[in-house]
């Protein structure tokens, strides 16, 4: 392939260079065609001539380009990867063409079990059941079936119980870059106080953009 050319190019990213060897354009083309978020690792695998730092730099530049030119889409960090997505304020217009985006619906018990796993991961079945005050084995199994939760290891010590964590599918379906993007339990308490509202939930993406 033409990896040689990329190397010669990679110190300069001319804003207007649309040539097929411009790294930023290559990443953009891949992102444009992708239906799933792409991780930096995947990029690196496809473009061995670029290192992680260069890939991240190019991705940030693409983000800045879209932001500064007021595009109706943005390069979003989701599920540990990158994906081109429309901006939320255009959802009303998109819905004139398409039915509302498919949404995860979980029973209250499944959702609270998922919340416990998301906040306490890695966590054992027993630890979840103790917090919920009721055996949660079947709820956890069904979350595993839905690929929102997976076995991530075994606990040290006697019994070596299975440990459960959230998956990339979970991050995808809830629009999160990684679990640490969730507000802390203390922050939630404040958000739920009467003076506030859940509409004011912070999301990493928006904050990053507002700073620009």
């Amino acid at each position: 392939m033409e990896t040689e050319d990329i190397i010669t190019d990679n110190n300069t990213y001319p804003q207007q260079d649309r040539s097929k060897n411009n790294p930023k354009s290559i990443l953009e083309a891949i992102l444009f065609a992708a239906s799933e978020p792409i991780t930096v690792k995947q990029f690196q695998h496809a473009l061995p001539a670029m290192n992680v730092r260069e890939i991240r730099k190019a991705l940030t530049e693409i983000q800045d380009d879209y932001q500064s030119t007021n595009r109706s889409f943005r390069l979003m960090e989701i599920a540990n990867g990158y994906q081109i997505c429309t901006r939320p304020e255009f959802s009303d217009w998109i819905r004139k063409f398409y039915i509302q985006q498919v949404r995860v619906t979980l029973s209250p018990s499944a959702l609270e079990t998922l919340a416990i796993v998301a906040y306490k991961q890695p966590v054992t079945r027993n630890e979840v059941s103790t917090i919920r005050g009721v055996n949660s084995d079947s709820v956890i199994s069904s979350l595993v079936e839905k690929e929102l939760v997976c076995v991530s290891g075994r606990k040290e010590g006697a019994g070596r119980s299975l440990l459960f964590s959230t998956t990339d599918t979970f991050l995808q379906q809830f629009g999160l870059k990684d679990p640490s993007e969730l507000p802390s339990l203390e922050e939630i308490e404040q958000l739920l106080s009467p003076s506030n509202g859940l509409e004011n939930l912070p999301t990493g993406q928006e904050e990053a953009e507002n700073e620009l």
Partner: protein, 259 residues
């Protein structure tokens, strides 16, 4: 009311028994009762809450729901705390570890934190629907969107069931004559009936399903059929708000079945 149900209960036993694992647990019930009574978790009037809790546990037992043992353990715990509060000298003598109200309050507070976190997760799922990406599984617009505020819990369903049962009891008492017929309806029949109704309609009103019921047994069978369908993920029960009417709908996607 509870005695009236139990009179039909004995005949129900061989028909069906619903496992209720996967539904909400005793802490959930306690939180809902505390909320309904508009109490502060840190300042629970233990005797009121214990009575209300036992009322629900009795109802679940009489419906022959395969009650999680945790519900009974909690009942014992509440009764112990209640006795301690009435006779503090007992508390001093026994120092029974699980009967400690402060400990229960801590457990409730921690559990509540995760319930709130679950609410937050739900908001994220909702916000996610505003963002579209290439080849998201988009369907062309069919019937617009319905929005339900919250999903109904087991206790919302039990409350709705209690209300209907009370209403029917009143009607039956007013009637002078009773026609005695042999009942042969099974939970399986009811499940098939509800599935047929849902094939025609996108949503069913929980109360409406009971309009077709002719007897108390029928009422209980209908309720058990609804619980079984929820457990199987065939239906989801939703409400437009807390303590509002309950609707029965199909899950939105193939991987969205309620547990």
């Amino acid at each position: 009311m509870l005695e009236q149900i139990s009179s039909t209960n004995s005949s129900l036993h061989p028909i069906y028994s619903i496992k209720i694992d996967g539904f909400e647990g005793p802490l959930d019930l306690l939180l809902e009762l505390i909320q309904k009574e508009e109490m502060d978790i840190r300042d629970i009037q233990i005797s009121i809450i214990t009575d209300r809790y036992l009322e629900y546990v009795n109802l679940m037992e009489q419906l022959d729901l395969d009650l999680a043992s945790e519900f009974l353990v909690m009942a014992a715990r509440l009764l112990h705390i209640k006795s301690e509060s009435i006779l503090p000298q007992i508390a001093e003598k026994t120092k029974y570890p699980i009967g400690n109200q402060a400990q229960l309050v801590q457990q409730l507070l921690e559990y509540k934190r995760y319930k709130e976190a679950a609410q937050v997760l739900d908001v994220y799922a909702e916000k996610r629907t505003l963002i579209y990406n290439r080849s998201s599984k988009l369907h062309s617009d069919l019937d617009g969107t319905r929005t339900y505020e919250i999903k109904a819990t087991l206790f919302d369903l039990l409350t709705a069931f209690k209300n209907i049962n009370d209403r029917i009891s009143n009607i039956e008492q007013d009637e002078e004559y009773h026609t005695v017929e042999e009942e042969t309806i099974t939970v399986e029949d009811k499940i098939a009936f509800i599935e047929r109704q849902l094939a025609n309609d996108d949503q069913l009103l929980f109360d409406d399903l009971f309009h077709f019921t002719s007897s108390k047994l029928d009422l209980i069978v209908t309720f058990l059929a609804i619980l079984e369908l929820i457990r199987l993920g065939t239906i989801v029960t939703v409400q437009t708000g807390l303590f509002e009417s309950i609707y029965i709908v199909k899950p939105v996607t193939e991987n969205s079945g309620s547990i």
